[in-house]
Each structure stands twice: as C-alpha cells, then as structure tokens.
Amino acid sequence: MSRAYVLKAVKYILIALILIVVLFPIYWIFLTSIKSEKEIVAYPPIFLPRGLTIEHYIHVIYGYSGLTKFSLFPSYLMNSIIVASVSTIFSVFLALFAAFAFSRFRFRGRDALFLLIIMLRATPGIALSIPLYIFYRTLGLDDTLLGLIIAYTALNTPFATWLLAGYIDEIPRILDEAAEIDGASWWSVLWKILVPLSRPGILTTALLIFVFSWNEFPIAFVVTSSVASRTATVGIYTFMQEFFIDWGGMSAAATFMYLPPIILAFIAQKALVRGLTFGAVKG
C-alpha cells in the first residue's frame, strides 16, 4: 500500500461525499414526489421507500378530488414554456443584430453595453418588477403572457448581445470581407456566414436564456395574477401558500421544474461559465 494509493482512495471518497451532498436535495424532492403520503410524514425519514406511487403527479396534473376539480399547474407549466421559448427566440434575434453591429463595426458602445448588463445584473428583480407592474397596469399588459414575454426579452437581450458578440468575434473577419468583395450585402454576410459559423454559440446562449426565463420568479410574481399568465415558479410559490402540508404534490410540481436546468447543466457547462462571468472566463 503506497502513500499515493491511500491519497487516491481519500480523494475518491471525498468526491463521492461531495456528490452525495450536492445531489441529495434533488434526490430528496424526487423521492418525496413518489413516496406514499404515509411515508412522506414518517419520522425517522424513510430514505429507501417500500412502495412507490404516482398519486402526487396525478394530483398535480388532474387536481384533488373534493378540493378542486382540476389542477392549475399544467397551465402554469404551459405558460412557462410559452413565455420562456418565445422570449428566448425574440432575445436571440434582437441580440444577433446588435452583436453583429458590435463585433463588425467600430463602436465606442461596447463599454456602455457592459455597463448596462452589470447594472441589470445588479438590480434586484423585485425592484424592477414594481415599476414594471405600474407601467403594465396603465397599458393593460399586467397578467398577460405578452407582457412577460416583452419583459424577459428586454432583460435578456443585453446579456445575449454580449455573449453573441463574443462568439462572432471569434470568427475571422477575413471571411466576411471576402464575401463582401464578392458583392454580398451585410444582411447576407450575417445570415449566410456569421450565423451558421456561430451556431453552437447561438444555441448555448439560447439555452441559457431559456433557463433564466424558466427560473425567473420576482417579475412573474408581481406582474401576473391569474392562470392567464402565471408561470410555474409562481405556481409553486402559491402552491406552497395554499397546500403547505402537501409535500408530495409540491415535490411532484418541483420535479417538472428540474428538467430544463438539468439539460442545461449537462450540455452547456462551458456556456454557463462564459455566460455567468459575462465572457470573462471562456471555460
């Protein structure tokens, strides 16, 4: 038994322990969502349940017999999907134009953009949501999907612009200069050369923004007030206020929420580093 061997074993044990600590809360919510009512409130807690059930999922999707005729959570999920995907598409389009301008024309504006991003990042969402709420009420945009879509588009566009400009910067200028000599317009340089070449960057940026919108709470919380536009994060919060003892149902609802973020963690970690450090760390 060499010393190196022992060190290696210690290292693996440590990593295993860290993994357990990191994954346990997620495992625990998932487990709660498939445990029977009785096992959920057992003490000591049951780590490996005997029987599994899908009743909590049925409650979340179809509602409780007796309490409410149907559950609102599927509508909340649908709202989240619509708002996150439409605003992501809008943001990426707007950001592509702006990123193109930043990357290919001489501008002093790049520092200003960075400042705007930092300011947005520094502003508490709840502080922004109240002014927005007042404004939306006068326009009749409160409690509408459109209102949320516009809000998320605006909040994510500067950030997406910054990331996409970084990706476009990596494409050699010689390519678009050559195309321009051949008579291509800027429009076709953007769509025929830069967009195809930065496709991986665009996709990961889109995924990142999608998850930001999917996870967003304060603005949706303040601006929405009914099933017409309430998103899943707000749904979980209200669920907690109304059915605070139904941990099975809440866990089932939460389990739906995990899917996009986990996909993001697996396929776009590099974009995560780059995105969350505003491109300062390339990953």
């Binding site: 440590l14 990593i15 860290i18 600590v21 990191v22 809360p25 997620i26 625990w28 919510i29 709660t32 409130v41 057992a42 003490y43 807690p45 809008f90 707007l94 134009f97 702006a98 193109f100 290919r104 501008f107 705007l116 930092i118 300011m119 947005l120 990042r121 520094a122 502003t123 508490p124 969402g125 709840i126 502080a127 109240i130 002014p131 007042i134 516009i150 809000a151 588009t153 909040l155 500067p158 321009e180 998850v211 996870n215 709470f217 304060p218 919380f221 994060t233 907690m240 973020p261 986990i262 963690a265 970690q269 995560l272 580093v273 969350l276 450090t277 505003f278 300062a280 760390v281 990953g283």
Partner: protein, 294 residues
C-alpha cells in the same frame, strides 16, 4: 468597411433599434415613471394619493429599523455565503484538477444546483429543514450535534442558517466551475517543473496556481457578491422575511412594503436605494477587478 450609400452607412445603428426600443419600453420608461412616484405619497389602489412630497420617503426609509435589518441581513448573507462558496469551491476544483475516470460526468452533476430555479431550491431546503419531518433534524440528532429537533425556520435566531445553506448549496458549483476553468489556464509544464524541483503541494498552490487564478477569483467573487444583493426568491419562499423580520433582506422588504402593505411609493424608494447600493457596489468591485487583472 464603410457603407457605400446612406442606408448602408446607417445600417449598424439600425441594428440596435429593435433592442433599444424593447429596453426603453420595459426598463427605462418604467424606471423613470416610478422614480417620480417614489417622490409622491402614492398608495396602491387608493385614489387621491400621489401628491408630490419630495425626498420624504427616502429620508423616512433611512431611519426605518426594518430596512436596517434587511440591509444588515443582506450584507451578512453576502459576506458569509460568498466567502464559504469561494473556499469550498476552490477546494473542490483543486480536488478535480487532475484528469481521472468519471471526471466528465462528475462536473456536470456538481454543476446542476446552479441551474435549478431558486424558488425550487427554496422549496427543497424548506422541506429538508422542516421542523417535524425534516431530514436535517434527523441527521443532526442522530449525530448528536443537537439534542432536540430545531424549528429552523421559525426560531428567529437560527432562521438565517437554512437560507445561508440553500444559497451555498446553489452557488458553490458556480465557484467550482469558474475555478476549474481558471485552473486550466495554469501552465502544465510550470507545475511539472516545480514538482521536479521539489516544491511542496502547498508551495505549488501558493506560488503558481494562486497567482494564475487570482484574476478569475476576483471576477467570481465580484459576480457572486452582486448576486447576493438581489437575493429574494429563496427567502420569500422559505420564510417570507420572517419570523419577526429575522430573515428580512432588501428584496423581501421591498416586496412587503410595496405590495403587501401597499405603501407603494415607500417601497419604490426602497427599490431605488437597493438599486443604488448594488450598482455602486458593482461599480466598486469591477474597478477592483480591473486593477487586479491589469
């Protein structure tokens, strides 16, 4: 690359217009509009209010003990959470530094918490720290760290702890990821040379690794510090700022005054102060970063 005709010359400016319009609409107009409202005595859904009172709300808030509490808690969370995240994250990143089988799967698994919705993170920890059925109480009593199950989120003197742990759970992965990226920038041959020359692991860390990752360390620290100032979702779902304002943060303070107590203009004044604090703070930190990087 100059445009050939006026339209081509204006083209780059045209590219910004759509983004600018949306940002004007969602961010700038509402902010300007409500800055005015914060200078009035406007109360939500109460006609006849909205008289201009100047900076009265701002003065009042600076002497509000609940606002002080919120400010103190936000600062406390920031100092403790960000420091712990940084050192734990750096430790884990060093552990994962060398290539080993399974590394490619372990990193994304470790990163997962940071992508989960904060509201769901709050739900998780509210359940884990439940005073009756919670796993945390069970494990701690089994390990004899505590004698009796604790009412974590109900007792004012300990209610901040579960929130702190939720925050650390969610964001240490950010540090791991950033540090891992930073460690890749450390030249391999330099490390090998130092090892051959007999430098200890500690010396290699201090003189090679730490020097190389210092800028990234600063950036990570800055970004996370700014983030904590915005903390809201986790606190709102776990305690709502209670019990008795024990876990009040700037976000929950603003929400409560503006929308629960309907003191709209007062809450807005809180919003602007919070924004001012975070922006000044961000500006300061980024200046520090620039100094370190250069």
């Amino acid at each position: 690359m100059k445009g050939r005709n006026p339209i081509e010359r204006c083209f780059p400016v045209l590219l910004f217009i759509p983004s600018f319009v949306v940002i004007l609409f969602v961010i700038i107009i509402p902010l300007v509009n409500s800055f005015y409202l914060s200078l009035t005595n406007y109360v939500l859904l109460q006609p006849g209010t909205g008289k201009f009172i100047g900076l009265e709300n701002y003065v009042k808030i600076l002497f509000d003990p609940v606002f002080h509490q919120a400010f103190k808690n936000t600062l406390l969370l920031m100092i403790i959470a960000v420091n712990l995240e940084l050192w734990i994250g750096l430790g884990i990143a060093l552990l994962l530094y060398k290539e080993f089988p399974g590394r490619g799967v372990i990193i994304p698994l470790l990163v997962t918490p940071m992508t989960v919705a904060p509201i769901v993170v709050g739900l998780q920890f509210k359940w884990l720290f439940n005073e009756v059925y919670g796993v945390v109480n069970y494990i701690l009593t089994q390990l004899r760290i505590i004698n009796e199950p604790l009412a974590w989120l109900i007792q004012p003197n300990i209610a901040l702890i579960p929130i702190l742990i939720a925050e650390i759970w969610q964001w240490t992965p950010f540090m791991i990821l950033v540090m891992t990226a930073g460690l890749q920038s450390v030249p391999k041959d330099l490390m090998e040379a130092a090892e051959i020359d007999g430098a200890s692991a500690l010396q290699r860390f201090r003189y090679i690794i730490f020097d190389h990752i210092k800028p990234i360390l600063w950036i990570a620290l800055t970004i996370r510090s700014i983030d904590v100032v915005r903390i809201f979702d986790v606190v709102q779902i776990m305690t709502g700022g209670g019990p008795a304002h024990a876990t009040e943060v700037l976000g929950t303070f603003i929400y409560r005054t503006a929308l629960v107590d309907r003191q709209f203009s007062y809450g807005l004044a809180g919003s602007y102060i919070a924004m001012l604090i975070s922006i000044l703070f961000a500006w300061y930190l980024f200046r520090q970063v620039r100094k370190v990087v250069e």
